[in-house]
């Protein structure tokens, strides 16, 4: 009996800790949501209040009715989706080959990808600007997609290489014995088997582009400006519009939440990856 109760005690503590951890992640977000629902005049208060004393969608209406936000939102979606597709198209085969056919050159290749992540993005901004300018791609969706892809690929590549590392080489070999060419084996067997890892990588690529600020600032002007820039614009020297800014941030977070929910199964699968041998 005593043993049972100590067991339950331990369990309770673990669950309480887990809850605490979840809350520590969630509280800032919930606070953001709460703030966005306050009437503009109540956003800052002494003492600060967590719950709005009156729920108001005023901030949301302000955001939706701006000219810039809905447009920037669409631009963000286009850029992020295209970046995700392009990054995966480039990284999935590259990561597979790097992980499964390890040669000194592939190790170098992956290390190099890592190094590009260590350079501050700012220092790449100017060369990228020059490059896109000379290609006539400044302020175009495709130009920004290229820039974001250059940022997402190293990350996605390393992530995928780690996933592919866990894939037994026999998977491809078995497929080749079963009548596949190398490419068919990759397409019909490797890719579906790795879909969790690919889903996680896709999410990372998406988020990388979705939240990217600096390149978007430097490389777009009117046509393909993305939402993070427009959200930051609410923070003008002439008055920080906290209310609309939080509302815009909440709206902007929804697609990521949505994508995460849609990919939930794959992501959980990917996080607990390792049972490929099945």
């Amino acid at each position: 009996m005593a043993e049972r109760s100590t067991f339950d005690m331990g369990r309770t503590i673990v669950q309480a800790l887990a809850l605490l951890l979840v809350l520590s992640f969630a509280v800032p977000y919930v606070y953001l949501v709460m703030t966005s629902l306050k009437p503009a005049a109540h956003v800052q208060q002494i003492p600060p209040s967590f719950l709005p004393n009156r729920i108001s969608v005023e901030n949301y209406l302000t955001v939706i009715n701006t000219q810039s936000m809905p447009r920037a939102f669409l631009s963000s979606v286009a850029v992020a989706v295209l970046t995700t597709i392009l990054s995966l198209a480039l990284s999935v085969p590259a990561a597979y080959v790097a992980a499964q056919y390890r040669r000194p050159i592939t190790v170098f290749f992956l290390l190099f990808a890592l190094i590009t992540r260590m350079v501050p993005a700012v220092s790449l901004g100017v060369p990228l600007f020059q490059l896109l300018k000379s290609l006539g791609l400044l302020d175009t969706t495709f130009g920004l997609v290229l820039a974001h892809t250059s940022a997402a690929v190293p990350l996605v590549l390393l992530l995928l290489a780690a996933f592919f590392d866990g894939l037994p080489k026999e998977m491809e070999e078995a497929a080749r014995m079963d009548g596949c060419s190398r490419f068919q084996a990759f397409l019909y067997i490797v890719v579906p088997v790795m879909k969790s890892g690919i889903a996680i990588s896709a999410l990372f690529a998406f988020i990388t582009s979705w939240n990217e600020f600096l390149y978007a600032l430097l490389l777009t002007s009117q046509n393909s400006k993305t939402a993070p820039i427009v959200i930051a614009e609410f923070n003008s020297v002439y008055g920080l519009s906290w209310g609309p800014m939080t509302a815009a941030a909440v709206l902007y977070s929804l697609p990521v939440v949505l994508v995460t929910l849609v990919l939930q199964k794959q992501i959980i699968g990917g996080l607990t990856f390792g049972a490929v041998k099945g």
Partner: protein, 418 residues
């Protein structure tokens, strides 16, 4: 052959027609709002299209720096904050020829001073702003408050004009209205996230400049800086007449507290007068007075923005036309929501009209005897971040000797400059 030539010339013509002349202008949100109407008129009159690229505040600096560094700017004009003038000075065009007698005569001296770098004018003022005093008319005009204040302090309750009045009134209005033991109306709020307001007090106290004097020597440790800091922290540290989380309060927070009726007065940028939210409980009850005066008289820190032409601009001629047009039509910005301009004539035209009650105090502040711009120095931002802010915020912790803190800050500042 002839036919071929002809069609070639035709297509060339068509191409130029399609490719109408245009200029690209880099702006922050405020710059867009204030110049949009003027730009439309400019296009109407000249046929030159104006494409605004709006970016967040810090983005103006980052974007323009990056473009200049790349040697291939996409902007012909940029509207920049005065604090960046020194950084961009080597990379922008000389605009001296646009400063005609007519133009210079119409601009407050402080704005002209900041437009000049060395012997050249490099930026044309677009609008200027300064902190003025905002107060709650419903409180200040209330006869009960007036008599209670007079009884307590021995002089009448008028909009605050001096340091002493400011402290007295802030203390007077700090109260617990609902009887729960905690103050819910404060006299004012102390801004701990930015130091510009204190800088205005430094000038009021008679300092020849903030942080640096005109020769560029560090004067952070002179008496005026110390006196101003003592005064600035007094409501927080001695009087208890402000919320005690000063370090978390920036412009937006101070503004919101006032709109929510939680403070009776604030020193704030004049444009805010036009922006009082309709649902604010102080809507229609806001009074404006000039910035406070000290021993040197009224002084404010001007917050002007300037139009500059990056040296990498492609259409410099169009840019010049735009800037000349902008200053000639400076008054058009006043109709925009921010309602600001740079020239005296623009302000004077609206003075006394309903809704523009702040123009008088603003002009009086901008033209104040001790009003002066912040130092035009490429290291200005670093001086503020590394030397000024640590001392400033430490002082707002309320322990620590102000003179000592400023002496340390001056030391740091000298190291930065060497």
């Amino acid at each position: 052959m002839k036919k071929l030539l002809c069609s070639g010339a035709l297509s060339l013509l068509a191409a130029t027609a399609l490719h109408a002349e245009s200029i690209n202008v880099l702006v922050e949100g405020g710059g867009l709002m204030l110049q949009k109407a003027m730009a439309e008129k400019f296009t109407e009159e000249t046929g030159i299209e104006v494409n605004f690229t709006e970016v967040p505040y810090q983005g103006v600096f980052d974007r323009l720096s990056a473009e200049i560094a790349s040697g291939a700017s996409s902007f012909d004009v940029a509207t920049i904050d005065v604090v960046w003038m020194a950084n961009f000075a080597p990379h922008v065009e000389d605009l001296t020829d646009l400063f005609t007698e007519e133009v210079t005569a119409d601009l407050p001296p402080a704005l002209l001073a900041d437009a000049r770098f060395g012997d050249r004018f490099i930026g044309m003022p677009t609008w200027a702003n300064a902190e003025v005093v905002f107060y709650r008319k419903d409180l200040f005009d209330n006869p009960d408050e007036q008599s209670a204040f007079a009884a307590e302090h021995g002089y009448p309750l008028t909009p605050p004009a001096t340091w002493g009045q400011w402290r007295d009134m802030a203390k007077f209005f700090t109260r617990d209205t609902d009887g729960d033991g905690k103050a819910d109306l404060y006299g004012t709020a102390t801004i701990g996230m930015f130091s510009e307001e204190w800088m205005a007090h430094v000038l009021q106290a008679g300092s020849p400049g903030v942080i640096l004097d005109d020769e560029g020597s560090v004067i952070l440790d002179n008496d005026a800086h110390a006196a101003a800091l003592e005064f600035y922290r007094a409501p927080l540290c001695e009087d208890g007449s402000v919320p005690d989380n000063a370090l978390e309060i920036g412009w937006g927070e101070a503004q919101n507290l006032f709109y929510q009726g939680q403070t009776a007065m604030m020193k704030f940028w004049a444009h805010a007068h036009k922006l009082t939210p309709e649902d604010s409980i102080v809507e229609g009850k806001v009074g404006i007075a000039p910035m406070l005066e000290g021993s040197a008289g009224i002084a404010g820190i001007p917050g002007p923005w300037y139009n500059v032409i990056p040296s990498t601009a492609e259409n410099k001629d169009g840019a010049r036309q735009f800037i000349a047009f902008a200053i000639a039509n400076n008054a058009m910005g006043i109709e925009a929501p921010l309602g600001l301009a740079a020239t005296n004539s623009a302000y004077e035209r609206y003075m006394g009209q309903m809704g523009y009650e702040h123009f008088g105090p603003l002009l009086e502040t901008l033209g104040g005897p001790a009003t002066k711009g912040r130092p035009l120095h490429a290291d200005y931002q670093e001086l503020v971040d590394e030397a000024v802010m640590p001392a400033f915020q430490a002082a707002l912790e309320c322990d620590g000797d102000v003179a000592e803190l400023l002496a340390e800050a001056a030391e740091t500042a000298r190291e930065i400059l060497n």
